[in-house]
């Protein structure tokens, strides 16, 4: 089976010349959740931006749905790739319903289809449309905003979902609640999900596969159990950073 997304020897440097990715390669199968873990500045967000062509690689190629991102029309590509940002970035001048409906409306869906999709999505993320569709973003809690962000990213049923530290700004209880929600949603929608985090615990909670980034390269990429058992010092460092829970 062809992978949903593949990076082949991708190099990328910032305008200042700092190397972010150095011949980075990975193949991501359809319908799995891949967590990319690494410390801040390891190039995690850059990888996401290369997938929806907010950036283009200096060398190598990024292939999405069997097509090089250079050959994709960027607008078309971005509408097939849902994006959940850490700061959510809900449009403050639109209601929750309007926020979720943005991409379907850009795609000129008929109104009845948009309304039906809206009800379905808000239901999916646990915010019933009857209660929430006409609310404004500044009336929601942080956790609710993040759910709206997920619903918005899924609105036009994109095959790929990119999540940039989506739960990073939430308190631990809400975060763990949303992890549960996420697994439940993913069990229904089966998207190819790439989730970026610096929290190894979050990766274990959500991912089918975990990729460890170190100095612009993939240090390891495996199932969670294999990662947990890894003896690679680069992986161990991240694992050891997980807080130990004191025994009573």
């Amino acid at each position: 089976m062809t992978p949903a997304i593949a990076f082949r020897d991708v190099s990328f440097s910032r305008p200042g010349g700092r190397v972010v990715l150095d011949r980075f390669s990975i193949a991501i199968e359809q319908g799995i959740v891949l967590a990319l873990v690494g410390r801040s500045g390891a190039g995690k967000t850059t990888i996401l931006k290369l997938i929806n062509r907010l950036l283009l690689p200096d060398a190598g190629s990024v292939v999405v749905e069997a097509r090089d991102t250079r050959e994709w029309n960027p607008i078309e590509l971005r509408r097939r790739v849902g994006f959940v940002l850490q700061d959510v970035g809900l449009f403050p001048h639109m209601t929750v319903g309007k926020n979720v409906a943005v991409v379907p409306e850009l795609e000129h869906w008929p109104e009845a289809r948009v309304t039906a999709r809206l009800a379905e999505l808000l239901d999916l993320v646990g915010l019933p449309a009857s209660q929430f569709a006409s609310r404004w973003p500044d009336e929601l809690s942080g956790g609710q905003r993040q759910r709206v962000g997920v619903a918005r990213a899924l609105a036009a049923d994109p095959p790929v979902l990119l999540m940039d530290e989506p739960f990073g700004a939430l308190d631990p209880l809400t975060r763990s609640e949303l992890h549960g929600e996420f697994r439940r949603i993913q069990a229904r929608v089966r998207k190819t999900v790439i989730i970026v985090t610096h929290d190894m615990g979050e990766a274990f909670a959500l991912a089918d596969r975990i990729g460890v980034l170190e100095e612009g390269r993939l240090a390891a990429c495996d199932a969670p159990a294999a990662i947990a058992a890894s003896t690679d010092p680069r992986v161990r460092r991240l694992l050891d950073a997980l807080p130990a829970i004191p025994r009573p």
């Binding site: 929806n52 907010l54 960027p74 607008i75 078309e76 590509l77 971005r78 509408r79 994006f83 940002l85 700061d87 959510v88 970035g89 809900l90 449009f91 403050p92 001048h93 943005v102 991409v103 850009l106 404004w136 500044d138 918005r152």
Partner: protein, 510 residues
């Protein structure tokens, strides 16, 4: 107050027309300013290198006084001249600055995360602008439109100076006629209009900002209040120290020259002089002289008789002088001997036309009037001893109502052919400079306007030498002298202080 209500009720039709013109001027100019300013702001917001020079240009435009702007535009083809079109151009230029500025500020103030979300969702540049950037910047843009419209209501009063109509016509007319009722008749509706426009746009802005907490409600009102307070304060601040004689003048060239002549005559006799020249019209000089804000200025006998004292006109020069001197004396002022020239109204036509058609007298002009257009200053258009009486005496039959415009601008309007006949000052330097011809008042319609200094009696008593100094000017300034000095100032652009000084030097030699 009852006089004001009476004025409004007797001028109902005219008031409605002027309000309509005013609203139309402001609405049209604001709409065009939005149509130009918002795209310009959008364009500049994306190009920081362009934004700051653009704002600078808009700022510079804003600092040009509106009357000067009208003056600049007068000879410009297409956009210039007199009338509503030139007024619109000026108002649009003034409205642009706040709109461009708030458009740029509104677009730049958008949270970058929100923009990023739009791009990541696959919005094109146009979709991002229409669906995200403009709606978010809209409250800021509306705030700019509000400032532009409120400033526009104020600036539009000045448009009356070039015959564009509007409520400014009452204000100018009132200033010229020394009639506060007429001033208020225009100023009060203009102020109300500003409040209504401000309120309506503020309401719109609030409707749009209900999602955000920002409120800049009071800013425009505060600015308006500050302006009124500043005007009042500057009036009060014009208080003077003792042992200084304050010389005033009205706000046109001849008055500035006469103010200098009086001031320098006093200085040459050892007095310390404070100049309050360029006061805005007869009313202001009269009030200033009454309250003691100025001690002396040069008035014209005919103007004093009709405009200051509201007496019927008379044609005998010495009789008018005596009447006015008596009336001034009753209110603690002394009218000194006339300077020697009569600044009567001059009916003026273009020199080439006068020569081609052999026009010599006002009777000749009356014959031509059915295919002419006339342009008059506010004062002449309204005063009983102005156009109404002139039309009766000579039987003028113009096809349309006269264009009402600022007196100084009317000379150029005549020279450039926008009107065919004006009523100017007999001593105007521009008559010589623009090749205009004064027609003979063969039916002796115009009353005398002999120039004479009028001073506070109290000041004359305190400084005996003051009277002696001013009496030396009596009968020494002829109409030719005055026209030559006006010509030197208006056409040759010589410094007025120097003109007055060299004239006083000559007087000593004569």
């Amino acid at each position: 107050m009852s006089a004001l209500l009476h004025f409004w009720s007797t001028h109902r039709g005219e008031l409605a027309t002027l309000v309509g013109q005013h609203v139309l001027l402001v609405a049209a100019s604001t709409l065009v300013a939005v149509a130009i300013g918002v795209p310009l702001g959008i364009f500049a917001a994306r190009r920081p290198r362009l934004a700051s020079p653009l704002t600078t240009i808009a700022n510079v435009v804003q600092t040009v006084p509106s009357l000067a702007m009208f003056g600049f535009l007068l000879p410009v083809p297409l956009v210039g001249g007199v009338g509503a079109r030139a007024a619109l151009v000026v108002l649009i230029l003034y409205g642009l600055l706040p709109i461009v500025r708030t458009t740029i500020a509104g677009l730049r103030g958008i949270d970058p995360v929100v923009r990023e979300a739009g791009v990541a969702m696959g919005m094109t540049d146009g979709e991002l602008l229409r669906r995200v950037a403009l709606p978010l910047a809209l409250p800021s843009i509306i705030a700019g439109v509000r400032v532009a419209a409120v400033v526009g209501v104020g600036s539009a009063t000045i448009a009356a100076a070039i015959g564009a109509g509007g409520l400014g016509e009452y204000i100018y007319r009132g200033l010229s006629m020394v009639d506060t009722t007429v001033i208020f008749a225009g100023a009060i509706p203009a102020a109300l209009l500003a409040l209504i426009v401000d309120g309506a746009l503020l309401w719109t802005e609030r409707q749009l900002t209900t999602r955000r907490r920002v409120r800049r409600s009071a800013a425009a009102i505060a600015a308006a209040v500050a302006l009124v307070v500043a005007t009042a304060v500057s009036g009060v601040a014009a208080r003077r120290s003792r042992d200084v004689i304050v010389v005033g003048s009205k706000n046109f060239t001849e008055q500035l020259v006469l103010g200098e002549l009086v001031a320098q005559s006093l200085e040459r006799n050892g007095f310390t002089v404070d100049r309050r020249l360029n006061l805005g019209g007869t009313l202001i000089c009269e009030r200033a002289l009454l309250t003691g804000d100025i001690d002396v200025y040069v008035e014209y006998t005919g103007t004093a008789l009709t405009a200051v004292f509201h007496q019927p006109i008379a044609n005998d020069s010495s009789q008018v002088f005596d009447t006015v001197r008596e009336l001034y004396a009753r209110t603690g002022r002394t009218l000194l001997p006339p300077l020697g020239f009569n600044n009567t109204f001059a009916i003026l036509v273009r020199g080439d036309e006068a020569r081609a058609r052999g026009l010599k007298t006002i009777d000749d002009a009356a014959r031509e009037s059915p295919h002419w257009r006339a342009g008059f200053g506010y004062e002449f258009a309204e005063r009983p001893d102005g156009f109404p009486g002139l039309a009766r005496t000579y039987g003028f039959r113009f096809p349309g109502p006269p264009r009402v415009m600022d007196l100084t601008l009317s000379y150029r309007a005549l020279a450039s052919g926008q009107v065919d006949m004006i009523a100017g000052d007999a001593t105007a330097g521009l008559i010589k400079g623009l090749d205009l011809v004064q027609l003979v008042d063969n039916r002796h319609y115009f009353p005398p306007y002999d120039a004479a200094p009028v001073a506070r009696a109290e000041t004359l008593l305190r400084y005996p030498g003051m009277r002696t100094a001013l009496d030396r000017l009596a009968g020494r300034v002829s109409a030719d002298d005055m026209r030559a000095m006006n010509y030197a100032a208006d056409v040759e652009h010589h410094d007025i202080t120097r003109i007055a000084a060299s004239f006083l030097d000559q007087l000593r030699l004569r």
